[in-house]
């Protein structure tokens, strides 16, 4: 399992490839379910120029590690990988990667979805958007 908060841009597809190569036994994994969340240049009808993602150092990592470990146990995953950006983010930057690996697709797909929804609703991160008219905090996440 790997959980990481990243302050710089990352390529989720390279991360998944490297994780599979370095951490998963070849031939034992039948399913890789991957979610990548990417910054839009619009939100709630406004153009968004950039945003700053804040977290609670220590609590956020701990929360994501527990969430990931729980998903591995519950769904009998072979492994899981979670990376989340913090700091200044620009449109088209990838924000979050959640990947679940298992022998069969059902467990990987369900676990990936569950981890992502848990992250969205409980992991301590906050977004502040920069618009042409100024800055605003995102008050709640979209439903799905």
């Amino acid at each position: 399992m790997r959980v990481e908060i990243r302050a710089t841009a990352f390529d989720p597809w390279l991360e998944v490839a490297a994780f599979r190569r370095d951490h998963l036994a070849a031939g034992r994994i039948g399913a890789s379910a991957v979610f990548v969340g990417t910054m839009r240049d619009f939100n709630e009808g406004d153009d968004v120029k950039s945003m700053v993602l804040e977290h609670y150092p220590g609590m956020t990592e701990q929360h994501l590690e527990t969430m990931t470990q729980d998903a591995i146990s519950k769904h009998h995953l072979s492994d899981a990988l979670v990376i989340h950006r913090v700091g200044t983010i620009l449109p088209a930057d990838d924000i979050v990667l959640v990947a679940a690996f298992s022998a069969h697709r059902k467990e990987a797909l369900i676990a990936c979805r569950e981890m992502m929804e848990t992250l969205k609703s409980t992991a301590p991160f906050w977004k502040k958007e920069s618009l042409a008219s100024g800055e605003r905090w995102v008050e709640k996440n979209t439903a799905g």
Partner: protein, 76 residues
Amino acid sequence: MSIQVRFFASLRERVGHTRLSIESADIATARDVWQAVSASPLDEEMLVAINKAYASLDKAVSDGDEVAFFPPVTGG
């Protein structure tokens, strides 16, 4: 009792502090901690963590605890 208090995101800007350290004999719960740092009640949707784990406002705090207040989360 000595408590380290932390604030995040919009709540940090509203309170005007990132961290505060409070000393008081009259603190038993996280709610008491909030009342020691703010004259206005904590909005219902705000969240509380004690020692980096989610907690209710009525949860007891101990000497040396870190108590954090923050708005609903918006990551991902």
